[in-house]
């Protein structure tokens, strides 16, 4: 019986060998894949096992980490003034992952980023507790507060930029949410998140970056810039060829102005001051769809903008003549994000140079060593310096004696443009109130801002933009200037 016995011995050996091979396959070949598998809870456990780094505004963290008990996850994210900062930070939840800055800079915040390799290895040797690095933002706490408080209970968004550098100073969106309510992984957190997701006011939508609105009359600034850049008009105080009434090309529809305002052959300055639809509609038609698209693209339209948080692309579409004419007054199918309109104001305020908007000034290692410093960067040159200054003069007239007087700040030069965008079928819904502006001091312009309020209740164009949105813009600009 020994021959079969020897074979059985080999058979048993083969069984063990098969197990050994399988084990090598699992624990060596597939180890990384299984270890990082999306269902592998260890990934989250490790992720929340250390204190997360902070997002810093004005030198102080707006986030924090608290130790929790009763779960696998040791640390939970908390926010100071969550609803105010949510559009900047995004959320970071034990159960629902992270979004926006919390997600994009996750590597630094958790301390797992490759850039922190040496730091990590060093603390492993020294036995230091592992913590995450910090993200220093460009935001201005006072400006953010002015924006958030200004919007109040109204639906809307504010984006403010430092035109000289592109640094984002404020980014508010209302209604907002407190990311702290679902930062944990309990049933309560899940319910809170469900409630937010179901809310028809979409509190988790970052309106400043991710919602596109018809820009309304604020877009006339862009049209004016296009007219100057393309040599259609040169002198902002010379009369334009603008008949009144003016009929939309290829149609029998007469474009209306809001009220009886002096728009016939009005100069650029006067037309912007009164917000003449007829003047700018015809201007857009004279320039043509292609030149308008070209100009908007120089302002950053047509592609997503990464601040590094992604902002939706604003669009000025290819369109037929009557639509193009309507788009020239921001009333057709062109749509913009508040950030984009802030960029338009910023480019004009910065004498035609558009800086790349950004909100992360520095990435810091856990030991506060700076591992990355943002260098300001020019994105494009939408206008010549001369033309930019012309548009500035026009916008300053709007604020000093036009529709935007609500934005006036004593002792500071302010330029702006109001807007009310009709929307909905047959303009049935409440219009959006817009205001874009910049403030200027001796050392250039430190702030440009765009404000949109969704429930602008108005009968007349512009007054509501000036009435609802301009005061918010004013307070944001004032907060920045006062803080200088």
């Amino acid at each position: 019986m020994n021959k079969p016995l020897r074979r059985i011995a080999i058979f048993c050996g083969v069984l063990v060998l098969a197990l050994l091979i399988r084990d090598n396959w699992l624990q060596y070949v597939r180890a990384d894949e299984l270890n990082g598998h999306k269902y592998n809870r260890r990934v989250q456990i490790e992720r929340y096992a250390h204190e997360r780094g902070d997002i810093i505004v004005d030198g102080n963290p707006v986030t924090g980490s608290v130790e929790t008990s009763g779960s696998d996850f040791k640390y939970k994210r908390v926010w100071k003034d969550g609803p105010m900062w949510a559009p900047v930070t995004g959320y970071s939840s034990q159960a629902f992952d992270a979004s926006q800055l919390e997600s994009i800079e996750d590597g630094i915040l958790t301390g797992n980023d490759d850039q922190l390799f040496f730091d990590r290895t060093l603390s492993m040797v020294t036995g230091e507790k592992k913590t995450g690095g910090n993200i220093v933002t460009t935001l201005d706490g006072a400006a953010q507060e002015a924006a958030f408080k200004g919007l109040g209970s109204k639906k809307g968004a504010v984006a403010a930029i430092d035109p000289r550098t592109g640094a984002i100073l404020a980014l508010a969106s209302t209604p907002s949410y407190d990311p702290s309510v679902f930062a944990g992984n309990s049933l309560k957190d899940s319910d809170a998140r469900q409630k937010l997701l179901k809310d028809k006011d979409k509190p988790m939508l970052n309106r400043a970056l991710r919602e596109t609105y018809p820009p309304g009359s604020t877009f006339k600034v862009v049209t004016a810039a296009a007219a100057l850049e393309n040599g259609l008009y040169d002198d902002i105080d010379a009369k334009t060829e603008s008949p009144l009434p003016w009929t939309l090309p290829q149609t029998s529809v007469q474009l209306k102005n809001e009220g009886a305002i002096p728009c016939e052959n009005a100069s650029l300055r006067e037309a912007l001051r009164w917000s003449c639809n007829t003047v700018f509609g015809k201007m857009s038609d004279d320039l043509g769809n292609e030149k308008m698209i070209e100009q908007t693209e120089k302002f950053g339209f047509g592609k997503e903008i990464f601040t590094p948080v992604r902002s939706d692309a604003s669009i000025y579409p290819k369109d037929n003549r009557p639509q193009n004419a309507m788009a020239g007054i921001g009333q057709a199918s062109n749509r913009t994000t508040p950030l984009q309109m802030a960029m338009v104001a910023a480019a004009i305020a910065n004498d035609g140079k558009l800086m790349q908007p950004y909100m992360v000034a520095q990435r810091q290692a856990p030991n506060l060593d700076v591992i990355h410093n943002h260098e300001k960067e020019q994105l494009s040159r939408p206008l010549s310096g001369e033309n930019a200054r012309k548009v500035q003069q026009m916008m300053e007239t709007v604020v000093s004696k036009g529709t935007g007087t609500n934005a006036r700040i004593d002792g500071v030069t302010v330029g702006g443009k109001t807007g009310t965008a009709q929307h909905g079928l047959d303009n049935s819904e409440k219009p959006y109130a817009w205001f874009i502006s910049y403030a200027k001091t001796d050392s250039g312009s430190p702030v440009a801002v765009a404000v949109v309020v969704e429930d602008g209740d108005a009968n007349r164009d512009d007054i509501s933009g000036g009435g609802l949105a301009a005061p918010i813009a004013r307070n944001v600009m004032k907060a920045v200037i006062d803080g200088m």
């Binding site: 016995l5 074979r7 011995a9 048993c12 050996g13 069984l15 063990v16 050994l20 180890a31």
Partner: protein, 466 residues
Amino acid sequence: MSVVTNTTTIGAIDAPSRRNTELALVIFAVFISVFAYANVGLAINGELPSGMLGYGIGLALLGGVAHLVVRKFAPYSDPLLLPLATLLNGLGLALIWRLDQSERFQALKTFAPAASKQLLFSAVGVGLLVVVLVALKDHRLLQRYTYISMVLALFLLILPMFFPAVNGAKIWIKIPGVGTIQPGEFAKIIITVFFAGYLMVKRDALALASRRFMGLYLPRGRDLGPILMVWAFSILILVFETDLGSSLLFFGMFVVMLYVATERTSWIVFGLLMSAAGAVGVATFEPHVQQRVTAWLDPFAGWGKEDASEQMSKSLMAFGSGGTLGTGLGQGNSDLIGFAANSDFILATVGEELGLAGMMAVLLVYGLIVERGVRTALAARDPFGKLLAVGLSGSFAIQVFVVAGGVMGLIPLTGMTMPFLAAGGSSVIANWALIGILIRISDTARRPAPAPAPTSDAEMTQVVRP
């Protein structure tokens, strides 16, 4: 075989008994286990666990007592079997104790620490080993109980059918005041005794009195019939109890023993064909099995939907997270697998916390036990001993393969316990008894043949005259 060949002129030289080797290895096994405790305690609580001394002394006592009994009653037995079993049992205790410390487990309503119970069961198991070694002077005594074994095995297999199913399988019986028992673990050993006894008697008939049919030798019905019936009966019971692992184990063991007894390769072919047919058959009408098969084919597909698949994927992730060197004892998250983490899935803890290196070591320890068992079969001088030893070690090998292959996703999961490692009284007791029988057979096999009485003839031829 280390039997020294004797001549009549030179007196019998005592074969080396290797008892001191065994003692050294047992001490080593206990030391490793105590070290594992210290490791767990330091990792989880930052201090040496208070129970370390208790478990260490307990384990040392078990190994020591077993060693002394072996030294006295089975002096020539294989020196590796006892230390290997002690090592696995000790490691198992440390692993179970480690899982007892899991906060996730402690949060469960059904949680009860299992390590102290396991130590108690191990003591009972070693007690049974002692009983086997003391009472069973010669393994051939078991031959007498061939048919009683059959009845007893079938009785043990039928018993759980009258008790409610636990986690989908009817393999437990509940005795009030004592706890639950898995009679199948004991039936495994007892039915091996029956197979060995029956096949030893009938092996010639099975091998030779057969008709050739399609290139295969088919034995006569009256020879094969009874054993086939017993076997089929046990498989049927197990299928009804949805104890798939054990069905596979019984079947494999049967084929192995038949093959060894008859020396006919055709049995292997037969066995493979029948197991394929059986597997397909069972899989078509058992939803329980279908679930396991789908979970095996794509463990992550059923995530969140069915328990079998989720357990399977959690087990795979535990192995993957361990990587080459593991996280270290007490520092993994293998308890995420849930309630079966300390029984069916205890290998996942080995994989995660001891890593590929530790896992391979553990598998090799199992492999060594099996190969020492087969070695014992080779060395045994009587066919009954050979069959019994190969049956026991074969079933041990198949059980290890089925469980380890199951939790590692090599084959569908069937739900058996890893011998010695897993928490579970019946398993650890039965496996100690199994080791006891193997030690007994190896002692008989390795015992030097008694020196023959000098004959007068020899005396005469040896006289050298000056």
